[in-house]
Each structure stands twice: as C-alpha cells, then as structure tokens.
Symmetry: C2
Subunit: 218 residues, 2 copies
DNA sequence: TATCCGCTGTGAATTTGATAACAACGTTAT
DNA sequence: ATAACGTTGTTATCAAATTCACAGCGGATA
C-alpha cells in the first residue's frame, strides 16, 4: 500500500486511475491517440488539475503540446495498478445476484478472472454457470489455496455472509467485495468493500429531494 | 441540501447516518435500548468522535450517562433523511441484475418502494416479477409522471443506458442509481451514483496485493 | 459530603484532499 | 526573429474532513 516514494496510496486516487483507464480504453477504440487533461476531466467528473496530479502519482509525463499519449498512459496505469500475472477471483453464492455478476464479469478484464464459484445448494454444485464451475462450499479452503485465488465476491444471504467470509480468510483471501448487507468482522489486513444497494438508493432519494448538484462514482 | 445551519450536507455524512440507522435497527431487534458512541463506532468503522459529530449535524443529543437512546436516535435520523411520504422508485431493465435487485429490495424499506419496472423485451412486458409490474419502455414518461416516481435504477445494457436515462430525466426523475458501466451525460441537478462492479473488484485486487499485514505486538 | 468515573458536545488543531496559479516550454503565427 | 498561445508539472493555497482534547455533567463510590 505504499507507492514509490514510500507513502500510502489513497483509495480515491486508485478509483480515479481505474476510471481514467476505462475512459482511455474507450478513446482508443475511437482511434484517438492523445488526450488533454481537461478532456479527461470532463469525461470523469474530475478537475483538470486533479487529473494531472493523479498522473504525477504514477510518474507518467505528458507533452504540453500533444497532451497524454493514450497507449503509453494506459500502459503506465497498468503497470501501477495491475499485478504481474492474472489475479484470480472467486464468487460465493450463485443466486440471483451471483449469476448476474458472473454474467457481467465474463471477458471484461484480462487481468482479473473468476476461476471458481461456490454454493451450498446441491442443485447448483457441479454445474457450470456462465462458464464458471460451481463447487460445494466445503471445498473453499482446498480450491482457493490450490488456485491461488486472492479476491472474493460474497453474494450469499446476510445470515451466511460472516461464516463464508471466515472460511475465505482462512483459505488465504486478501480482499472481499461484500454484497450482503452486513458488516463483516475480519482481521484488519483484509481489504473489504461493502456494496449495499439499499443504502445507495436511500442516499440518492435524499439528494434527489434536495437537489444537490453532484455526481459520485464507485 | 441545507441543514439547520444553512450549510449543504456532505454526502459522506448521509452515508454514515444511513449506516448508523441500519445498525441501530439491528440493535433494537436485540432488545438493546441505548448505545455509546464508541460502540457504534466499532460497528460502523468510524471513530467515536465522528459518530458524535454526525449526531451534532442532525441535532440529536445523547446523555453522558446512558449514551444515545436507540429509538429516539432512529427517529431523529428518520426525520433528517426521510421524506414525509413514501418515495417511489423505478427500475429499468429487468434482466439478470434487475431481477436480483427487485428480489432484494422487496419489503426492505418502508420509506422507499419500487412501484414499477420497465423493459423493452415483449416477453417481460406485462408480467409481474417479484411483485412489480413490468411496463414497456415507451410508457416511462406516462407512468413516472402519473405515479410521481423520483428515483430510478438503471440496469439496461451499456448501449441503452444513456437513452433510458434521458427518457427518465424527461419524465421528471431526480436521482439515478446507474449500474451500466458508462458515464451518463445529464443535467447537473440530477443526482447520479454509478456502481461499477468491475472497477470495485479492480480496486480490491490492488489493495489486496498491497495491503501490509499488521503485525500484532506481543 | 467529597471524589472519582466515563461519557457527551464541541472548539481547536491536524490531517487529508482539491484547486489555483504560474513558470517552463514546444508550436504557431506574424 | 519573436511574440502569442496552450498545456504540462508542480508548488502554494485553500477547503473539507477528521481527530484531539477537554470542560461539564450526572451518577457511583466511599
Ligand atoms: N448489494 C446489492 O446490490 C444486492 C442486491 C441484491 C442482493 N443483495 C444481497 O446479496 C445476497 C444474495 O442475494 P440473492 O438475491 O442473489 O439471493 P439468492 O437467494 O438468490 O442467492 C443466494 C445464493 O447463496 C447460496 N448460499 C446460501 N448459503 C450459502 C453458503 N453458506 N455458502 C454458499 N452458498 C450459499 C444459495 O444457495 C443461493 O444460491 C443477499 O445477501 C442479498 O441481501 C445485494
Ligand atoms: N455494476 C454491476 O455490479 C453490474 C453487474 C452486472 C451487470 N451490470 C450491468 O447492468 C446492466 C444489465 O446487466 P444484466 O446482466 O442484467 O443484463 P441482461 O441482458 O440480463 O438484462 C438487460 C435487460 O435490459 C432490457 N433492455 C435492453 N434495452 C432496453 C431498453 N432500451 N429499455 C428497457 N429495457 C431494455 C433487456 O430486455 C434485458 O431484460 C448491464 O449494463 C451490465 O453491464 C452491472
């Protein structure tokens, strides 16, 4: 969690870098080859100064005349945020939400791959859903360790989430994306991101009433 | 948009207040009647001082001896964040993700209700999914206006999202929860929250790799 | 009674994050 | 030539968010 200067990298910087990367990939598809900070700023709801600061962080330098070379910039972001090899991801709880996510994830990233799913429902175990093999929950320890998976997505019911999380951590997982509406109690070195759709709608409902002009990204 | 002191309310404060409310509701179910700031802090990953500051914002005062009365505190948060009447929500795109969300949402909130869904697939139109009637996309304008819906959840494919968002705004929507991986171009008074699962996993993968194991001191 | 205790509410201090501002520098126009 | 231009990298400034730290208080203790 330290950058080359020995300081910790703030979460927000990483979020923005990942967003820039997606935008850049789209621009490249449109045959663009270079971009200025103010253009990226518009497309990402950041300020031009912030865009430039973010690129300072990863040590990429643009040209005052041509701006940022899109291919090189993507490459620099890749080097900063990606692992050397593909990082493996697992999903636990192949229900409504789990299947939607498996479906969405497929082929979207070349540096992340969901390589196994788990469920405790015997009807789902053994099947292949959206290209992913589904194993029984009991085999989490075995398979996560064998495959070297280090990120997990939890989409089991609220009541099961803590238990599943404990097993995953036991098996060596380092980061969790948790969709169950509950705070997981885990050791501090595990990076957890909670995604609660109900809290999100409640927040939007609040600001929709109050007419705040703002856009948030996550 | 303004609190009692005339200042705009930061998004983060609202997020935390909504989280406290959920935690408080759980505590009440366990027959607890009061809680201290340091207890809430533990359960919400905030600091005790921050918890107290958040309650300053909504003007609720606890007792140094008994702490915060759970029922009263919930009531105060309700008064601050909830609308007078139920706020109506719609969902557009009843696919994998859309159905998962309809399923999850049902009966979870008494101040928010999904009262209509939309899809352009004739097979889905006219059906009732998870208790919600599904209408054709062409009727967005008509039904959103008639029902007075002011928040929308977008779960259509990327290529359709901007068009759907434009229609919704046209129909009077004030806030959008957008699950399509694209930045919506909308007037600034519309509150938009983008939820991108892929960016989330990328971020977690980054910190999962980099997070330093905290050594326990013995 | 007097003393101690643990918590709240909050002003002040600190930390963190965002913006402004500008020197430096190729490019273009004249 | 050289002046004007537009953008970058970066420092200085500003703003927001968080934490600190402590007065004040009601209850418990002796
Ligand atoms: N954050 C969001 O946007 C959002 C949206 C919808 C649902 N959710 C949450 O996601 C979770 C799943 O929702 P859903 O609608 O997909 O539910 P679901 O019932 O359709 O799916 C749950 C799946 O988990 C499996 N499961 C249950 N216990 C398990 C265990 N111990 N180990 C492995 N698998 C187990 C079940 O067999 C089932 O396949 C719930 O916690 C729900 O609250 C979140
Ligand atoms: N952020 C996340 O976590 C996440 C996860 C999964 C999917 N997604 C995104 O959510 C969206 C939906 O994903 P999905 O897996 O449910 O896809 P899906 O194909 O299963 O569902 C899409 C639905 O939208 C309907 N639709 C298409 N065009 C429409 C239009 N113009 N008006 C109304 N309805 C229309 C289709 O008929 C279908 O029912 C996609 O944009 C996907 O990228 C996001």
């Amino acid at each position: 969690m330290k950058n080359k200067n020995g300081n910790t990298v703030p979460e927000k910087n990483i979020e923005r870098l990942l967003l820039y990367r997606r935008i850049l990939a789209n621009l490249r598809r449109e045959k663009k080859t270079a971009v200025f900070s103010h253009q990226l700023a518009l497309m990402s709801d950041a300020s031009p100064a912030q865009v430039r600061r973010d690129f300072m962080l990863i040590g990429y330098f643009g040209s005052p005349v041509r701006g940022y070379d899109i291919d090189q910039l993507i490459q620099s972001i890749n080097e900063f945020v990606d692992a050397q090899e593909v990082q493996k991801v697992t999903l636990v709880g192949v229900g409504h939400l789990g299947r939607a996510i498996l479906n969405y994830f497929q082929g979207r990233s070349d540096k992340l791959a969901i390589t196994a799913a788990f469920d405790r429902n015997p009807e789902k175990v053994g099947r292949v859903l959206h290209g992913i093999h589904c194993y029984p929950t009991e085999r989490i320890q075995e398979i996560v360790k064998a495959e070297g998976i280090d990120v997990a997505i939890i989409t089991v019911p609220e009541s099961e989430a803590q238990d599943v999380a404990d097993r995953l951590v036991q098996a060596g997982i380092r980061g969790i994306l948790n969709y169950a509406p509950i705070k997981l109690n885990l050791p501090p070195e595990i990076f957890v991101d909670n995604r609660d759709m109900l809290l999100a709608v409640e927040k939007i409902a609040f600001f929709a009433r109050r007419r705040i002009r703002k856009e948030s990204v996550s």
